[in-house]
Symmetry: C2
């Protein structure tokens, strides 16, 4: 169900390039974060990341995620609990949506057909055309309870 796995080398190259534009280095800590997020297949919380790589420290993870978000390598995802979650940016991961469990806060990815995406875009474009709002994208999340929470 989770889309075809992505090319890690390509992701690293893109991350390095985007950081370089901002005069930032692609350090080992940042590389680890990107690698983790690329392999998880689901938005991760900071505790998730710290647990997966105990060598990482909290303040650096926060700082590096903020930097990676700023240069467009990762993006923040909000769920129903109060921890931020992070995933690779859409242009690295592919456009997708989230299943948000209101019971445990877990977030999973899913995709819909590109035809369905186009019709959603059209509907949204019509709906907001007279609001002065400039859309940069959409978030279509399904809320409910995950299989584990039954």
């Amino acid at each position: 169900m989770t889309g075809a796995s992505i090319d890690l080398g390509q992701v690293h190259d893109a991350a390095a390039a985007r950081l370089r534009v901002a005069d930032q280095r692609y350090t080992s800590g940042r590389r680890e974060l990107v690698e983790l997020l690329a392999s998880t297949g689901r938005p991760a919380t900071i505790p998730d990341l710290l647990e997966a790589r105990p060598k990482l420290t909290q303040s650096s993870v926060y700082r590096n995620l903020a930097m990676l978000e700023e240069v467009g390598v990762v993006q923040k995802v909000v769920s129903s609990d109060d921890r931020a979650r992070f995933e690779l940016a859409e242009d690295l991961m592919g456009h997708h949506h989230h299943l948000i469990c209101v019971s445990c806060g877990r977030v999973d990815d899913f995709v819909v057909s590109s035809r369905a995406e186009r019709s959603i875009e059209t509907v949204l474009g019509n709906a907001i055309s007279d609001t002065g709002f400039r859309a940069s994208g959409h978030r279509l999340d399904v809320v409910g309870t995950c299989a584990d929470c039954n």
Copy 2:
């Protein structure tokens, strides 16, 4: 653009009834919150509410919003900034979507045609049918920059 205004009396009746089921009173503070949320037409932050009704106190607003959420009268909305926003529950407000400004965090409501809603529901139903996830609804938000933020 904001849908037809809702029947305030009906909202109060529903709120009172849902609280009563949970052995809770519909106190003046709670009534004020419901009234504010019904009149705002856009999800409100706690500071918004405190400013609109200086008589309300912060701790009571938090406590009462939590209670009203628990009995299904209001719901929490997350935006891009880190303040929670609240609006009346969907069955009191009508189903709608949000325009989320990534620059200032402001959130506005908009609606799409019921035909479009049905097709979205169908698409989502197909996409998650084999995940074990039980959907209770969806959130379709448009992110971008509002007219004020240009």
